[in-house]
C-alpha cells in the first residue's frame, strides 16, 4: 500500500467538506445554516481543485530564487487550477454576500428564517 501523503489528506478533507456542505444544504431548515453549508461546499471544491493541480515534489509557481528559470516547467506545480480557484473564491464571496442580503430581506419581510415557511415557489 502506498504511503498517504499530505496532498491525499488535503483532498480527503476537501471531499468531506463538500459532502458536509451538501448535507447542510439538503437537510437544514434555517436559511443561514443553508448559506453556511453552501460556503463549506465552496471551500471544499477549492481545496479539491488545488489538490488535483498538485504535482509531486514540485514547488509553488512563483519564479524566484527557488526555481531555475531555464528549467521552470520541471520544478513548479500547475498554475492554472490556482488561478481558477482564485477566481472562484472571489465569486463565491460575492454570491455568499448576495445570499446573506437576500436572507436579511426575507427575515425583514416575513420575520422568519425557516425555509418551510417560504412556499411561494412550491407547486
Amino acid at each position: 500500500m502506498e504511503q498517504i501523503s499530505l496532498s491525499h489528506i488535503a483532498i480527503i478533507a476537501g471531499i468531506l467538506l463538500i459532502l458536509i456542505g451538501l448535507w447542510g444544504i439538503l437537510t437544514k431548515h434555517n436559511i443561514i445554516r443553508m448559506i453556511v453549508g453552501f460556503s463549506l461546499f465552496d471551500t471544499g471544491i477549492h481545496i479539491v481543485m488545488v489538490g488535483v493541480g498538485y504535482v509531486k515534489g514540485k514547488t509553488a509557481p512563483i519564479l524566484d530564487e527557488a526555481v531555475n528559470l531555464k528549467n521552470a516547467a520541471q520544478e513548479i506545480v500547475d498554475p492554472l487550477p490556482q488561478a481558477l480557484v482564485l477566481t472562484a473564491i472571489v465569486i463565491g464571496l460575492g454570491i455568499t454576500a448576495l445570499m446573506l442580503a437576500y436572507a436579511l430581506r426575507l427575515y425583514q419581510r416575513n420575520k422568519t428564517l425557516d425555509i418551510k415557511n417560504f412556499n411561494d415557489l412550491k407547486w
Binding site: 504535482v55 512563483i62 436579511l104
Partner: protein, 234 residues
C-alpha cells in the same frame, strides 16, 4: 423517511463521483501541455515572476474582467436590495458604545492594514497575492473602522467614484493593448522590464492596482450597505 433516503443517495453519488479525484492526486509526474507552455514562455512573454498572476491578468485576462463584472453585479444588487427607505438620523442613541481598547487599537491598526493591502496588490506580480487579495484586505480595514465607530457614515460618493474610475481604467488598459500591442489586455504595452523587479511585467502592476482599488471599494460598499441596514430596527 423517504426524504432521508434521497439525501443519503445524493450524498453517496457525490462521494463516489468525488472519490475519483482522489486517484488524481500526484498521479501526474509532470505538467500538462498548457502549464508547460506557461512555465516556459511566461517569463519572457509576460515578465511576471508569479505565474498565477501572469495567467490571471494576461493569459486569461478576459476571465478576470468577467470576474470583476460579477463582483460588481453582486455588489450593486446588494446595494439595490438593501436600499433603505428614508435614512432617519436618530440612530446614534441606540448604538452601544464601543470599548476603549477596540477604538484605540483600530486607530493604530487601520492605517497599517490599508498599507498592507496596497503592498499586497502592488507586489502581485512578484509574490503571492494580487488585486483581489489586496482589495479584500482594504475592505477588512474598513470593517475594523466601522466596528470601532458604528455610527460613522461611509461616504458612498467616494467609494462609487473610485470604483467607476478603476473599472474604467482597467478596461481602457485592455483596449490600449489592442492598439499598441497584440490584443485585448496584452500587458506588453509598457515593456516587460527586468524580470523580478517591482517595475516590470508591463501593465500587470497597474492593472492590479486598479483591480485592487475596485475590489476594495466594492467590498467596502457591500459592508457599508449591510451596516446601514443593520441600523434599522429589524
Amino acid at each position: 423517511m423517504l426524504k432521508k433516503i434521497f439525501v443519503l443517495a445524493i450524498l453517496a453519488v457525490f462521494a463516489v463521483m468525488l472519490f475519483r479525484s482522489y486517484g488524481l492526486v500526484g498521479a501526474n509526474e509532470e505538467l500538462n501541455e498548457i502549464a508547460t507552455r506557461y512555465a516556459q514562455k511566461g517569463p519572457e512573454e509576460v515578465g511576471a515572476a508569479n505565474l498565477v498572476t501572469a495567467v490571471i491578468v494576461t493569459y486569461r485576462g478576459l476571465d478576470t474582467l468577467g470576474e470583476v463584472t460579477i463582483l460588481f453585479l453582486a455588489a450593486s444588487i446588494i446595494g439595490f436590495f438593501l436600499k433603505t427607505k428614508q435614512q432617519n438620523e436618530k440612530t446614534s442613541e441606540n448604538v452601544r458604545k464601543t470599548s476603549e481598547i477596540l477604538e484605540t487599537a483600530a486607530r493604530v491598526i487601520t492605517p497599517v492594514i490599508f498599507l498592507f493591502g496596497v503592498y499586497v496588490f502592488i507586489n502581485g506580480h512578484l509574490t503571492p497575492g494580487g488585486g483581489f487579495q489586496g482589495g479584500a484586505i482594504l475592505a477588512s480595514g474598513l470593517v475594523l473602522m466601522l466596528l470601532a465607530n458604528p455610527v460613522k457614515k461611509v461616504n458612498h460618493t467616494i467609494i462609487s467614484l473610485l470604483e467607476s474610475i478603476s473599472g474604467f481604467s482597467f478596461l481602457l488598459l485592455g483596449v490600449l493593448g489592442i492598439i499598441l500591442a497584440d490584443g485585448f489586455l496584452d500587458n506588453t504595452i509598457l515593456g516587460t522590464g527586468d524580470f523580478g523587479e517591482l517595475i516590470s511585467a508591463g501593465a500587470i502592476p497597474i492593472i492590479y492596482i486598479f483591480i485592487g482599488l475596485k475590489v476594495g471599494s466594492e467590498l467596502s460598499g457591500i459592508v457599508s450597505n449591510l451596516q446601514k441596514t443593520q441600523k434599522e430596527e429589524i
